[in-house]
Structures are given as C-alpha cells and as structure tokens.
Symmetry: C2
Subunit: 331 residues, 2 copies
DNA sequence: CTGTTAGCGCCTTCAA
DNA sequence: TTGAAGGCGCTAACAG
C-alpha cells in the first residue's frame, strides 16, 4: 500500500511514482517535484522484496565460505564485498564450517531466487544434489576450482606454487622437507600435495612427510608439527599451507628447543600482512587475496548478465616471499 | 506460476500445495502424497521472494561490520552466523570500511524489508539519518554499544578492561605506559582510553602517551609504535587495543634493537588463538568473541519476536591473560 | 507525459 | 478436507 499512499498524496498514479523512483525519463519536472515531495513527506521506503519479486532479480550474491575466521577467506570475502558493492550487489554470507547440510541449506536460497548467483570457496563439488540445487544458476568457484565442474573459477596454480615452495627450501640445502597440509577434501590441498611430491622428485629428495591439520587454526599447525617432530627422522624444513598453521608449527619447534631457521626452516602460505612482522619474519607464498575475490565477482556478474557466457577458468599468479624463517642468509 | 504448476500436476489447488509445503495439518495423507510426488517430479523450488513478500518477513539479519579482515570481527561474525543459522536465519554481511555512505546503503535494506533486523559492530551512532533509516526496526549493537541509542547492546566493559591492562603493566613496575589506540570515532576506543587514563591516575603515573592506529592492520601498529619511540622520553610499556596492532608494535620495537619485555612490555587485546604462539607469547585481554555474536543474535531475535521487548544492555566479561610479552617472570 | 491494468508467486481467510 | 479468491507492493506494457 505504500507506493499507492505516495501516489494518492501526490495526486498521481502509482506508475508515475514508480517512474520517478526509478529515474525514468518522461516525467514532467513539476510532477516529479510533487512526487518527490510526497515521498519525503511520507518517509516512504520502497519495499525491496516486492521490487525483487517483480523484477525477478535480487542483486544479492551468495558467498559460501568454509570458515570466515580463516584470514585468507576473510580477505577474499572483503574483495568480493567491495567489488559486489561497486556494482550495486549485496552479499549473503554463509560460513559452512564444511558441513554439507549447511551448504545445501544456503544453496536453497539460490533456487529460491533470493540470490542471483553464488561464489563458493568451499569444497562442495561432491555435495549430493549439487547439480540440482545450483541448476544452471550463475556460479563461480573461488580459490577452490574444479575444472570439471560446470562453473567458472578463479584460482591460483596450486601445484606450481607448492613446487616453488619446495624448490626454495631445497635450494637452502634442506633434505627432509615436510608438508603441513589442510583438509584433503579440498582441491587446493590435493593440488599442493601433488606439487610438493613432484618437486621432491625433481630435486631427488626421497624423504617425504605430510601431516594434515585438523582445522585452520594455529593449534592445528602446532599439533601437526608435533607429530612430525615425534618421528624417528624428523624434518629439517616445513612447507605449511597457511601462515596461520606456520605460526603454530614454529611455536612447536621453539618449544622443543629447536631453532628456526637453523634447525628447521619454515615456509608459510597466503602472505598475510603480519607474516612479515613475526619473529623471525615468515617466508610465505603470497596470494592475491583481494584480487581473487574481485575477479570472482566480475566473472559472476558477467554470467548473470549473459547466462550463455562461457565458463572461464582463470589463474592468478602468486609470489614467493623469502624471509628469515626459511633462510640463514638473505638472498 | 510454479506452485500452480505443481497444483495442476497433482490435481489439487494451490492452497493445498501451500499447505503441504508449510506442513500444516488437515491434509489427507493420500492428497499429501500426491502433492509430494508432484513436487518431486517437477523439481519445484518455492520462490522465497514471493513467500517473504507475502509473509512480510525475510528471516535475514543484516550485519554491519567495519572490517571483516579484523580477526576480532570475523570471529564475532562467526558467532553471529552460527546462532542465526541455528534459528533459521541467514545473514547479510556489510563490510563498511567505516564509510557512512556504505553503511546507509545497507541500512536501506532494513527499511526495504529485505532483512528483519540489524546487528551493528560499526561506529554508526552518528550516522546522519540513522534514526529514520532504522526507524523502530529491531537493532542490536555488538561490541560497540552506545547506551543512549535506542537499541540493545552486547559489549564488554571496555573501561574496566583497559584499567586492568594498565594495572597489570604498572604491577610489572612500568612507569611510562603508552597506549596504541584505534580510531577514536569508535566508542570502544574512547572508553578504553578513559580507562587507561583513569588507571594511570590511580597508579600515580604522570607519564602518558596515546597514539592512534590509522586502521586495524599490523602496519598501523608498527607506525604508531614508531611514533612513540621517536619521542624524547619513550615508553617502557605498551597497551595496544588489539593483538594485531601489538604484533606490529613488537616488530617495530625489535627493529630498533630493543627487547620485549625487558626494555618494553607489550600487552594486546582480543585474545586471538595465535597470540599464545608468538615469540614471545603475547599477553592480552581476552574477549568472548564468539559469545558476543551469539548473544547479539539472541537479543535481536527476542526483539523481532516481540517488538515491544525492552532494550537490554549486556556486558560480557573478559579476562587478562598474562604471558611473556609483559612480564619478566611468570606469575 | 500520465493512467490503467495485469501480473510476479505465494499464503490465507472464507466458504463449501 | 479442500478450493476460490484476494492481495502483499511493485514494475512494465499498453493506452490514452
């Protein structure tokens, strides 16, 4: 009844009010003024639900994230948010904690027309009923891209990145390079492990050791490191798949009276700002976090505008930042 | 046209379909079966927009955050998300970066009926037109509570917490205790500064020094620390309003060949898990981050269910965790 | 330039 | 137990 109230107040039809509301040309200035005055007088606020129902678009994007407390994710999300906002879109955030039922509950919003598209950062490719839930709705995978999925993706070359990481450690004359990996259900974890193993081979390193962190918190990195140090033949270098896990690993190493990097070199992943300010400064593989989010939104909007647009698999480059935690002497 | 399609397929009316959809009693089992079959056969998905328009509730909550990359915020948001989800609500995330225009753009979703209520973690009390935008919609302030605002709030006692922080440092025989504060537009920053100054007085410390970080990243902590060290009479202890800022401060101290805690003691705020794993382990004031989010949602839902429910100002307690960064000998 | 009209898809009395 | 019908508030043809 609201647009109607305004219409009555201004002595025009609802169509005219709608026209000024949406800035359409073809309204006499005098009429426009009258409508504007009525809007102001009545403190009218358009009912967005009604508008969205009518126009069949919500200008909302669903973002499915495994864990927002993972600083990598939160930075990507900020990129997503900023770019979405710049295009007049809002984001609905789902923190799935990798629980399939939570993921699918949110995906229902997609088929329910609440959102115009979805960006997933979660390992959901194997979600049962995924195809049906997403249908052919616009979908972009961010940081976690399955080339076989019918979706665009924005990722880094995880395999190559892991390869670089190992190469760097090998170059520091490390022979027993271990990996602290994430949840192996994630593609990024699988891909980085492939890269890790391939690099070991290239560098003729026969020792290998992979431990999986139980979650993304530093305590998990600590625990994984403890398991590695408990081995009969412990590592002399660590490649951790996140800076946070690396912090935990370093703490564990220190507690055992070992030194970083003299006894054990440590290399992280992500390139969070504070990695440079740790002691020792943490070497890391820097990802373009903000940009991963930004490009995901761009690809998604492209697809929303033209549903027949082809799927694109984009890879952003990352950069090894060598600091004191992985080398005795700076380059 | 969709519920209608199902209705035709099942040979019933749309009303009946709606009834089984919403689980209302009074549908003959046989009929229900037929409808269910039709729903399955047609892969029907209810249009949530239409439903929300009709029922005038969206089961969505708006969360207005200054910066999701602030780990404190992201943990509170996770608490919000979890609790909301448990009650069948979804959250719309707005990362305002403290820009009033972004805040008000999102607040329009409130008056536009897109969300049923709002939780703000931002310093928005002075937003022009705030009252009108929020109207009497359900609103809870989280971690940043203005007792004068017509809204419930869930906070900690910032003044008391800062007092404790300073008391701890004073107890370590520190005489020149400086504060690295956040953006002074925030109430938490103002309140903690009041607590800081009050505590100095109580402990008969005449030296005082406050520097404001330009944002929430560690680089800002570094810069603030640099300014403090450039003073003629530099501090011998630092009270930083976040763990992240403390990391930057410590890095700066170290770069100047000073030691933590021997030369300068450092105390952070928030109690992020990795604060315990830094070197030296960071003393900090631990906040109940998850719980701040959870309680905010509970208060908000209460208000949504009963709009006449009174405003509640709740204070959660926090805890000083003394570690090596602030004391030469453990307690 | 402006008004009339017809839905968007759903829920919900009111009757039957 | 079921169906018919109205309307949530808005936009978009189509007339005038």
């Amino acid at each position: 009844m609201s647009i109607e109230k305004v219409a009555r107040l201004a002595g025009v039809s609802t169509a005219t009010v709608s026209r000024v509301l949406n800035g359409y040309a073809g309204v006499r200035p005098a009429t426009r003024e009258r409508v504007l005055a009525a809007i102001a007088a009545s403190q009218y606020q358009p009912n967005l639900l009604a508008r969205q129902l009518r126009t069949a678009q919500s200008r909302m994007l669903l973002v499915l994230v495994s864990s927002i407390i993972n600083p990598f994710c939160s930075r990507v999300v900020r990129g997503i948010e900023a770019e979405a906002e710049a295009h007049g879109y809002h984001i609905l955030l789902c923190n799935s904690d990798s629980q399939p039922q939570r993921e699918s509950a949110y995906l229902a919003l997609l088929s329910g027309k609440i959102v115009d598209g979805v960006i997933t950062m979660d390992a959901i490719t194997n979600l049962p009923g995924l195809r049906q839930m997403i249908g052919d709705s616009p979908w972009v995978q961010c940081a976690e891209g399955d080339p076989d999925a019918e979706a665009s993706s924005v990722t880094i070359d995880n395999q190559q990145a892991a390869h670089e990481a190992v190469a760097h450690l090998a170059q520091q004359r490390r022979r027993r390079i271990a990996m602290i990996n994430g949840d192996p259900r994630y593609l990024y974890a699988q891909q980085r492990e492939v890269g890790y193993r391939a690099a070991l081979k290239v560098h003729h390193l026969s020792w290998s050791g992979v431990e999986y962190a139980s979650d993304v918190e530093c305590e998990a990195g600590y625990a994984a490191m403890a398991r590695l140090l408990d081995r009969a033949d412990p590592p002399d270098a660590i490649f951790a798949v996140s800076d946070v896990l690396a912090v935990g690993a370093i703490h564990c190493i220190r507690q055992r009276r070992l030194r970083v990097p003299q006894d054990i070199a440590v290399l992280g992943f992500d390139g969070l700002p504070w990695s440079a300010m740790l002691s020792p400064p943490l070497s890391t593989l820097e990802q373009p976090m903000q940009q991963l989010g930004v490009r995901s939104v761009q690809l998604l909007l492209q697809r929303i505008r033209d549903p027949r647009a082809p799927h694109i698999h984009e890879q952003l480059s990352c950069r090894l930042v060598a600091r004191a935690s992985s080398q005795l002497v700076p380059d």
